[in-house]
Protein backbone atom coordinates (compact mmCIF):
# COMPACT_ATOMS: atom_id res chain seq x y z
CA UNK A 1 0.00 0.00 0.00
CA UNK A 2 2.77 2.45 0.95
CA UNK A 3 5.02 1.63 -1.99
CA UNK A 4 6.12 3.51 -5.04
CA UNK A 5 5.37 2.00 -8.43
CA UNK A 6 7.47 4.09 -10.85
CA UNK A 7 5.29 3.23 -13.84
CA UNK A 8 2.07 4.12 -12.04
CA UNK A 9 3.71 7.29 -10.69
CA UNK A 10 4.75 8.38 -14.18
CA UNK A 11 1.36 7.54 -15.66
CA UNK A 12 -0.34 9.51 -12.87
CA UNK A 13 2.05 12.38 -13.54
CA UNK A 14 1.27 12.24 -17.26
CA UNK A 15 -2.45 12.02 -16.59
CA UNK A 16 -2.31 15.08 -14.36
CA UNK A 17 -0.21 17.15 -16.74
CA UNK A 18 -2.21 16.23 -19.85
CA UNK A 19 -5.50 16.84 -18.00
CA UNK A 20 -4.35 20.25 -16.76
CA UNK A 21 -3.11 21.18 -20.23
CA UNK A 22 -6.37 20.18 -21.93
CA UNK A 23 -8.58 21.67 -19.22
CA UNK A 24 -6.71 24.96 -19.34
CA UNK A 25 -6.47 25.06 -23.11
CA UNK A 26 -10.13 24.38 -23.86
CA UNK A 27 -12.20 25.19 -20.77
CA UNK A 28 -10.41 27.18 -18.10
CA UNK A 29 -8.51 29.66 -20.24
CA UNK A 30 -11.67 31.13 -21.83
CA UNK A 31 -13.19 31.61 -18.39
CA UNK A 32 -9.96 33.14 -17.04
CA UNK A 33 -9.80 35.49 -20.04
CA UNK A 34 -13.46 36.33 -19.62
CA UNK A 35 -12.88 37.17 -15.94
CA UNK A 36 -9.83 39.23 -16.86
CA UNK A 37 -11.77 41.11 -19.56
CA UNK A 38 -14.63 41.77 -17.15
CA UNK A 39 -12.21 42.94 -14.46
CA UNK A 40 -10.51 45.19 -17.03
CA UNK A 41 -13.88 46.56 -18.17
CA UNK A 42 -14.90 47.28 -14.59
CA UNK A 43 -11.55 48.98 -13.93
CA UNK A 44 -11.99 51.02 -17.11
CA UNK A 45 -15.50 51.99 -16.03
CA UNK A 46 -14.24 53.03 -12.61
CA UNK A 47 -11.37 54.97 -14.20
CA UNK A 48 -13.74 56.60 -16.68
CA UNK A 49 -16.15 57.52 -13.88
CA UNK A 50 -13.24 58.98 -11.90
CA UNK A 51 -12.10 61.05 -14.90
CA UNK A 52 -15.65 62.22 -15.53
CA UNK A 53 -16.02 63.23 -11.92
CA UNK A 54 -12.71 65.10 -12.04
CA UNK A 55 -13.64 66.93 -15.25
CA UNK A 56 -17.07 67.75 -13.80
CA UNK A 57 -15.46 69.15 -10.68
CA UNK A 58 -13.01 71.11 -12.80
CA UNK A 59 -15.88 72.45 -14.90
CA UNK A 60 -17.83 73.34 -11.80
CA UNK A 61 -14.81 75.18 -10.40
CA UNK A 62 -14.50 77.09 -13.68
CA UNK A 63 -18.21 77.93 -13.61
CA UNK A 64 -17.95 79.05 -9.98
CA UNK A 65 -14.95 81.21 -10.85
CA UNK A 66 -16.77 82.68 -13.87
CA UNK A 67 -19.85 83.33 -11.76
CA UNK A 68 -17.71 85.07 -9.19
CA UNK A 69 -16.15 87.19 -11.94
CA UNK A 70 -19.58 88.00 -13.35
CA UNK A 71 -20.80 88.94 -9.89
CA UNK A 72 -17.81 91.21 -9.35
CA UNK A 73 -18.30 92.75 -12.79
CA UNK A 74 -22.01 93.26 -12.13
CA UNK A 75 -21.29 94.94 -8.81
CA UNK A 76 -18.73 97.18 -10.49
CA UNK A 77 -21.15 98.11 -13.28
CA UNK A 78 -23.89 98.78 -10.75
CA UNK A 79 -21.54 101.04 -8.82
CA UNK A 80 -20.56 102.85 -12.01
CA UNK A 81 -24.24 103.26 -12.93
CA UNK A 82 -25.03 104.59 -9.46
CA UNK A 83 -22.17 107.05 -9.62
CA UNK A 84 -23.20 108.09 -13.11
CA UNK A 85 -26.83 108.58 -12.07
CA UNK A 86 -25.76 110.63 -9.04
CA UNK A 87 -23.54 112.74 -11.20
CA UNK A 88 -26.30 113.20 -13.80
CA UNK A 89 -28.82 114.10 -11.08
CA UNK A 90 -26.45 116.65 -9.63
CA UNK A 91 -25.80 118.06 -13.06
CA UNK A 92 -29.50 118.26 -13.90
CA UNK A 93 -30.19 119.84 -10.54
CA UNK A 94 -27.44 122.40 -11.05
CA UNK A 95 -28.67 123.15 -14.56
CA UNK A 96 -32.25 123.50 -13.31
CA UNK A 97 -31.14 125.80 -10.52
CA UNK A 98 -29.11 127.87 -12.99
CA UNK A 99 -32.06 128.02 -15.36
CA UNK A 100 -34.35 129.02 -12.51
CA UNK A 101 -31.92 131.72 -11.50
CA UNK A 102 -31.66 132.89 -15.11
CA UNK A 103 -35.46 132.95 -15.45
CA UNK A 104 -35.78 134.87 -12.16
CA UNK A 105 -33.15 137.37 -13.32
CA UNK A 106 -34.93 137.80 -16.62
CA UNK A 107 -38.27 138.26 -14.88
CA UNK A 108 -36.75 140.83 -12.49
CA UNK A 109 -35.13 142.65 -15.36
CA UNK A 110 -38.37 142.68 -17.33
CA UNK A 111 -40.28 143.91 -14.29
CA UNK A 112 -37.77 146.71 -13.80
CA UNK A 113 -37.93 147.64 -17.47
CA UNK A 114 -41.72 147.57 -17.32
CA UNK A 115 -41.64 149.73 -14.24
CA UNK A 116 -39.33 152.28 -15.89
CA UNK A 117 -41.47 152.26 -18.96
CA UNK A 118 -44.66 152.70 -16.83
CA UNK A 119 -43.11 155.60 -14.95
CA UNK A 120 -42.04 157.18 -18.24
CA UNK A 121 -45.52 156.70 -19.66
CA UNK A 122 -47.02 158.09 -16.48
CA UNK A 123 -44.81 161.14 -16.67
CA UNK A 124 -45.73 161.65 -20.26
CA UNK A 125 -49.37 161.22 -19.29
CA UNK A 126 -48.92 163.68 -16.40
CA UNK A 127 -47.34 166.23 -18.67
CA UNK A 128 -50.12 165.77 -21.16
CA UNK A 129 -52.75 166.10 -18.44
CA UNK A 130 -51.00 169.17 -17.01
CA UNK A 131 -51.00 170.72 -20.38
CA UNK A 132 -54.63 169.82 -20.71
CA UNK A 133 -55.43 171.32 -17.30
CA UNK A 134 -53.48 174.40 -18.09
CA UNK A 135 -55.29 174.67 -21.29
CA UNK A 136 -58.62 174.28 -19.51
CA UNK A 137 -57.66 176.81 -16.86
CA UNK A 138 -56.70 179.25 -19.38
CA UNK A 139 -59.88 178.66 -21.24
CA UNK A 140 -62.26 179.00 -18.33
CA UNK A 141 -60.25 181.75 -16.47
CA UNK A 142 -60.51 180.12 -13.18
CA UNK A 143 -59.10 181.50 -9.94
CA UNK A 144 -56.28 180.18 -7.88
CA UNK A 145 -58.54 178.31 -5.58
CA UNK A 146 -60.16 176.57 -8.42
CA UNK A 147 -56.75 175.74 -9.84
CA UNK A 148 -55.61 174.25 -6.52
CA UNK A 149 -58.78 172.25 -6.29
CA UNK A 150 -58.33 170.99 -9.81
CA UNK A 151 -54.70 170.01 -9.17
CA UNK A 152 -55.73 168.21 -5.96
CA UNK A 153 -58.45 166.37 -7.82
CA UNK A 154 -55.96 165.46 -10.48
CA UNK A 155 -53.44 164.16 -7.95
CA UNK A 156 -56.16 162.20 -6.17
CA UNK A 157 -57.19 160.67 -9.46
CA UNK A 158 -53.60 159.72 -10.15
CA UNK A 159 -53.31 158.04 -6.76
CA UNK A 160 -56.51 156.05 -7.24
CA UNK A 161 -56.03 155.52 -10.91
Amino acid sequence: MVSIDPVLLLVQLGTFLVAVFLLWRFLWKPLAKFMEARRYAIEQDIESARKNRESTEQLRAQIDQRLAEIDTEARRLLQVANDESKRTREQILQEAQAEARRLLDNAGRQIAEERVRAIRDLRAETVALSLLIAEKALKQSIDAQVQHRLVDEFVTELKHG
Binding site: V2, D5, L22
Partner: protein
Protein backbone atom coordinates in the same frame (compact mmCIF):
# COMPACT_ATOMS: atom_id res chain seq x y z
CA UNK B 1 -21.47 -1.75 -2.83
CA UNK B 2 -19.11 -3.05 -5.58
CA UNK B 3 -15.93 -1.03 -6.00
CA UNK B 4 -15.83 0.42 -9.52
CA UNK B 5 -12.04 0.75 -9.47
CA UNK B 6 -11.58 -2.86 -8.45
CA UNK B 7 -13.95 -3.93 -11.22
CA UNK B 8 -11.97 -2.00 -13.84
CA UNK B 9 -8.75 -3.42 -12.46
CA UNK B 10 -10.16 -6.92 -12.61
CA UNK B 11 -11.39 -6.62 -16.19
CA UNK B 12 -8.83 -4.27 -17.79
CA UNK B 13 -5.85 -4.62 -15.50
CA UNK B 14 -5.69 -0.86 -14.86
CA UNK B 15 -4.65 0.04 -11.30
CA UNK B 16 -7.45 1.47 -9.14
CA UNK B 17 -5.75 4.84 -8.33
CA UNK B 18 -5.25 5.45 -12.04
CA UNK B 19 -8.88 4.68 -12.78
CA UNK B 20 -9.87 7.06 -9.99
CA UNK B 21 -7.56 9.72 -11.43
CA UNK B 22 -9.35 9.33 -14.76
CA UNK B 23 -12.70 9.60 -13.01
CA UNK B 24 -11.44 12.75 -11.29
CA UNK B 25 -10.31 14.21 -14.60
CA UNK B 26 -13.63 13.25 -16.23
CA UNK B 27 -15.55 15.01 -13.43
CA UNK B 28 -13.35 18.07 -13.83
CA UNK B 29 -14.01 18.12 -17.57
CA UNK B 30 -17.75 17.72 -17.06
CA UNK B 31 -18.03 20.39 -14.37
CA UNK B 32 -15.74 22.79 -16.24
CA UNK B 33 -17.69 22.28 -19.45
CA UNK B 34 -21.00 22.89 -17.68
CA UNK B 35 -19.62 26.01 -15.98
CA UNK B 36 -17.98 27.55 -19.04
CA UNK B 37 -20.43 26.48 -21.75
CA UNK B 38 -22.15 29.86 -21.89
CA UNK B 39 -20.11 32.58 -20.27
CA UNK B 40 -22.21 35.48 -19.05
CA UNK B 41 -21.25 38.80 -17.49
CA UNK B 42 -23.71 38.08 -14.70
CA UNK B 43 -22.72 34.47 -14.02
CA UNK B 44 -25.03 31.57 -13.27
CA UNK B 45 -24.48 29.28 -10.28
CA UNK B 46 -21.95 26.96 -11.91
CA UNK B 47 -20.00 29.79 -13.50
CA UNK B 48 -20.05 31.75 -10.24
CA UNK B 49 -18.73 28.75 -8.28
CA UNK B 50 -16.00 28.19 -10.85
CA UNK B 51 -15.10 31.89 -10.85
CA UNK B 52 -14.89 31.78 -7.06
CA UNK B 53 -12.36 28.91 -7.20
CA UNK B 54 -10.44 30.65 -10.00
CA UNK B 55 -10.40 33.91 -8.06
CA UNK B 56 -9.24 32.16 -4.90
CA UNK B 57 -6.33 30.40 -6.63
CA UNK B 58 -5.35 33.44 -8.73
CA UNK B 59 -5.38 35.70 -5.66
CA UNK B 60 -3.29 33.19 -3.75
CA UNK B 61 -0.71 33.01 -6.55
CA UNK B 62 -0.69 36.79 -6.97
CA UNK B 63 -0.22 37.41 -3.26
CA UNK B 64 2.82 35.11 -3.06
CA UNK B 65 4.43 35.49 -6.50
CA UNK B 66 3.10 38.83 -7.72
CA UNK B 67 2.60 39.48 -11.44
CA UNK B 68 5.23 36.82 -12.28
CA UNK B 69 2.88 34.16 -11.01
CA UNK B 70 0.43 34.54 -13.90
CA UNK B 71 2.01 31.79 -16.07
CA UNK B 72 1.55 29.42 -13.13
CA UNK B 73 -2.23 29.89 -12.93
CA UNK B 74 -2.98 26.67 -14.88
CA UNK B 75 -0.63 24.56 -12.76
CA UNK B 76 -1.94 25.66 -9.38
CA UNK B 77 -5.55 25.77 -10.53
CA UNK B 78 -5.22 22.22 -11.88
CA UNK B 79 -3.43 21.08 -8.75
CA UNK B 80 -6.08 22.51 -6.41
CA UNK B 81 -9.08 21.26 -8.38
CA UNK B 82 -7.57 17.84 -9.04
CA UNK B 83 -6.78 17.31 -5.36
CA UNK B 84 -10.17 18.64 -4.17
CA UNK B 85 -12.17 16.48 -6.57
CA UNK B 86 -9.81 13.51 -6.04
CA UNK B 87 -10.21 13.82 -2.27
CA UNK B 88 -13.97 14.19 -2.38
CA UNK B 89 -14.82 11.35 -4.77
CA UNK B 90 -13.57 8.97 -2.08
CA UNK B 91 -16.69 9.89 -0.12
CA UNK B 92 -18.93 8.59 -2.90
CA UNK B 93 -19.84 4.91 -2.35
CA UNK B 94 -18.15 2.71 -4.93
CA UNK B 95 -15.34 5.19 -5.60
CA UNK B 96 -12.05 5.80 -3.82
CA UNK B 97 -9.71 8.80 -3.65
CA UNK B 98 -6.80 8.65 -6.10
CA UNK B 99 -4.99 10.81 -3.55
CA UNK B 100 -5.20 8.00 -1.02
CA UNK B 101 -2.44 6.33 -3.06
CA UNK B 102 1.16 7.41 -2.56
CA UNK B 103 1.95 7.20 -6.29
CA UNK B 104 -0.65 9.91 -7.05
CA UNK B 105 0.46 12.25 -4.28
CA UNK B 106 4.13 11.60 -5.13
CA UNK B 107 3.41 12.48 -8.77
CA UNK B 108 1.83 15.75 -7.66
CA UNK B 109 4.70 16.47 -5.26
CA UNK B 110 7.13 15.69 -8.07
CA UNK B 111 5.45 18.36 -10.18
CA UNK B 112 5.97 20.88 -7.39
CA UNK B 113 9.55 19.73 -6.72
CA UNK B 114 10.65 19.78 -10.36
CA UNK B 115 8.85 23.08 -11.04
CA UNK B 116 10.48 24.68 -8.00
CA UNK B 117 14.01 23.87 -9.10
CA UNK B 118 13.45 24.18 -12.84
CA UNK B 119 12.02 27.70 -12.59
CA UNK B 120 14.44 28.62 -9.80
CA UNK B 121 17.43 27.70 -12.00
CA UNK B 122 15.88 29.31 -15.08
CA UNK B 123 15.27 32.53 -13.18
CA UNK B 124 18.58 32.81 -11.33
CA UNK B 125 21.02 30.64 -13.25
CA UNK B 126 22.40 27.28 -12.09
CA UNK B 127 25.27 28.42 -9.86
CA UNK B 128 23.50 31.38 -8.39
CA UNK B 129 20.56 29.12 -7.60
CA UNK B 130 22.86 26.61 -5.87
CA UNK B 131 24.55 29.44 -3.99
CA UNK B 132 21.26 30.64 -2.52
CA UNK B 133 21.04 27.45 -0.44
CA UNK B 134 23.94 28.62 1.71
CA UNK B 135 23.42 32.36 1.49
CA UNK B 136 23.47 34.62 4.53
CA UNK B 137 25.84 32.52 6.69
CA UNK B 138 29.60 32.78 7.39
CA UNK B 139 31.82 31.01 4.81
CA UNK B 140 32.81 28.24 7.19
CA UNK B 141 29.16 27.35 7.77
CA UNK B 142 28.26 27.33 4.07
CA UNK B 143 29.03 23.62 3.34
CA UNK B 144 27.03 22.44 6.33
CA UNK B 145 24.17 24.79 5.54
CA UNK B 146 24.22 23.68 1.90
CA UNK B 147 23.83 20.02 2.88
CA UNK B 148 21.07 20.82 5.39
CA UNK B 149 19.21 22.92 2.84
CA UNK B 150 19.50 20.22 0.17
CA UNK B 151 18.10 17.66 2.62
CA UNK B 152 15.33 20.15 3.40
CA UNK B 153 14.60 20.56 -0.29
CA UNK B 154 14.20 16.80 -0.71
CA UNK B 155 12.09 16.61 2.44
CA UNK B 156 9.57 19.00 0.92
CA UNK B 157 8.12 16.64 -1.70
CA UNK B 158 8.19 13.83 0.86
CA UNK B 159 6.21 15.87 3.36
CA UNK B 160 3.84 17.11 0.64
CA UNK B 161 3.09 13.65 -0.67
CA UNK B 162 2.96 11.85 2.69
CA UNK B 163 0.76 14.52 4.30
CA UNK B 164 -1.87 14.31 1.60
CA UNK B 165 -1.59 10.54 1.26
CA UNK B 166 -1.68 9.99 5.04
CA UNK B 167 -4.77 12.12 5.61
CA UNK B 168 -6.72 10.58 2.76
CA UNK B 169 -5.54 7.05 3.51
CA UNK B 170 -6.56 7.46 7.16
CA UNK B 171 -10.01 8.59 6.11
CA UNK B 172 -10.39 5.70 3.66
CA UNK B 173 -9.18 3.13 6.21
CA UNK B 174 -11.45 4.57 8.89
CA UNK B 175 -14.49 4.44 6.60
CA UNK B 176 -13.57 0.90 5.49
CA UNK B 177 -13.12 -0.28 9.08
CA UNK B 178 -16.46 1.19 10.10
CA UNK B 179 -18.18 -0.48 7.13
CA UNK B 180 -16.44 -3.76 7.90
CA UNK B 181 -17.48 -3.45 11.53
CA UNK B 182 -21.11 -3.02 10.51
CA UNK B 183 -20.95 -6.09 8.28
CA UNK B 184 -19.10 -8.17 10.88
CA UNK B 185 -21.41 -7.26 13.74
CA UNK B 186 -24.45 -7.83 11.57
CA UNK B 187 -23.13 -11.22 10.45
CA UNK B 188 -22.33 -12.28 14.01
CA UNK B 189 -25.89 -11.59 15.12
CA UNK B 190 -27.05 -11.45 18.76
CA UNK B 191 -28.57 -8.61 20.77
CA UNK B 192 -25.24 -7.20 21.91
CA UNK B 193 -23.78 -7.10 18.38
CA UNK B 194 -26.94 -5.60 16.94
CA UNK B 195 -26.84 -2.89 19.61
CA UNK B 196 -23.17 -2.19 18.97
CA UNK B 197 -23.88 -1.71 15.25
CA UNK B 198 -25.26 1.72 16.20
CA UNK B 199 -21.71 2.94 16.97
CA UNK B 200 -20.16 2.45 13.49
CA UNK B 201 -23.41 3.48 11.85
CA UNK B 202 -23.42 6.75 13.77
CA UNK B 203 -19.69 7.36 13.34
CA UNK B 204 -19.58 6.80 9.57
CA UNK B 205 -21.54 9.97 8.59
CA UNK B 206 -19.41 11.99 10.97
CA UNK B 207 -16.22 10.60 9.41
CA UNK B 208 -17.64 11.40 5.98
CA UNK B 209 -18.25 15.00 7.07
CA UNK B 210 -14.75 15.10 8.48
CA UNK B 211 -13.48 13.67 5.20
CA UNK B 212 -15.24 16.52 3.37
CA UNK B 213 -13.44 19.03 5.53
CA UNK B 214 -10.08 17.27 5.28
CA UNK B 215 -10.46 16.93 1.53
CA UNK B 216 -10.75 20.68 1.03
CA UNK B 217 -8.19 21.63 3.68
CA UNK B 218 -5.53 19.25 2.38
CA UNK B 219 -6.01 20.49 -1.18
CA UNK B 220 -5.60 24.03 0.11
CA UNK B 221 -2.48 23.13 2.12
CA UNK B 222 -0.87 21.30 -0.80
CA UNK B 223 -1.56 24.18 -3.19
CA UNK B 224 -0.44 26.92 -0.78
CA UNK B 225 2.82 25.11 -0.02
CA UNK B 226 3.46 24.50 -3.74
CA UNK B 227 2.85 28.17 -4.51
CA UNK B 228 5.16 29.15 -1.68
CA UNK B 229 7.95 26.73 -2.72
CA UNK B 230 7.94 27.77 -6.38
CA UNK B 231 7.44 31.44 -5.54
CA UNK B 232 10.30 31.52 -3.03
CA UNK B 233 12.64 29.71 -5.45
CA UNK B 234 11.97 32.37 -8.07
CA UNK B 235 12.24 35.30 -5.70
CA UNK B 236 15.35 34.21 -3.81
CA UNK B 237 17.98 36.99 -3.69
CA UNK B 238 16.15 39.31 -6.06
Amino acid sequence: MPDIGEAVKYHLGVPVPLVMSWVTVAILFAVSFAATRRLRVVPGRMQAAMEMVFGFVFDLVDSVMGPKGKPFYPLFLGMFLFIVVGNLIGLVPGLSSPTANLNTTAALALVTFSSTHFFGIRKQGFFKYLAHFSAGVPWWLKPLMFVIEIIGEFARPLSLSFRLFGNLMAKEILLAILALLVVTLYSAGGVMNMTLIIVPLALRPLIILLGLLIGVIQAFVFTVLSVFYIGSAMQAHE
